[in-house]
Symmetry: C2
Subunit: 182 residues, 2 copies
Amino acid sequence: LEKPFQVTFAGGSEGLWKVQEIRNVRGEGLPVVERVAVYEGEAPREAGIWNLRGIVGHARYTGRGEQDALAKVQAGLGRPEALCAVLIPIRKNRKWWDLAQDERRQIFEEKSRHIAMSLDTLPAVARRLHHSRDLGEPFDFLTWFEFAPEHSALFDDLVEKLRKTEEWDYVEREVEIRLRRA
Amino acid sequence: LEKPFQVTFAGGSEGLWKVQEIRNVRGEGLPVVERVAVYEGEAPREAGIWNLRGIVGHARYTGRGEQDALAKVQAGLGRPEALCAVLIPIRKNRKWWDLAQDERRQIFEEKSRHIAMSLDTLPAVARRLHHSRDLGEPFDFLTWFEFAPEHSALFDDLVEKLRKTEEWDYVEREVEIRLRRA
């Protein structure tokens, strides 16, 4: 990655992605909108009814071995067959952020196998993480997933497993926005 | 920390801190100014000739043991005797940011003893780190140090030692702004 860049997900009446469903999984939800537009870099002011911003930057937990394993099977965004996308904004609680780096890593991977489970779904389910916490946003992370319709079950299974992990005990707000390319 | 907050260091003609010296240590320097104003939260638009922004957030490398050790001797900012401050903006190169978390940690602490050396100067030299990289700023980090005049040598020694570490091989831009409370 040359340098970090900002992405805005604007929920409103415009954009490439039609909303199929907004599931308010935990905590305060998000208003229903028709479409989501994804802006890399500068976004129009007040682009949507809600605008979620995050930064694509360096990885915070992956070790070298994991990073190499991920790179080998990584899939990019925008594949023609990837007609399904899901945006999952998440906020973790204060207890999580008060943990030290080694404690967070321990829960994240050694106990919850977050990276290993994501690896299992690659390259079918492409994924991009956006960091929002330092921007003063309402969520800490925005994860964007893209996959072909025939891999929907694989994606559902991944999300279901992640929600049962110890890591998810620290999630205090979560919304799942299911999208289909228009 | 309840939640992350933004800090702006505005170099210009206003502010509590009088500039003693601006040393352009590596890479492009910063224009000389008379004073530096420190704004926590919202800063006035175009407050200074240069404005450096960063986020005070969670620690990225410290383990639990280190975090506890630091907390025990931590010193706050704004102590009456701390008449000296130094602001050190730093940018690391792409090679650093392409490293995995375990590789960065290895260089940062196991090889360069960054945390251990900082611990040695506490509580005399108070320190606050501001993360700038994800904000699209010209520097990746802004570190602010505060100490009483009689601890200047201790501070000088810390900075000198840090600059000789392997971690510093990855620093491509560094400025040292020496300040005195007005």
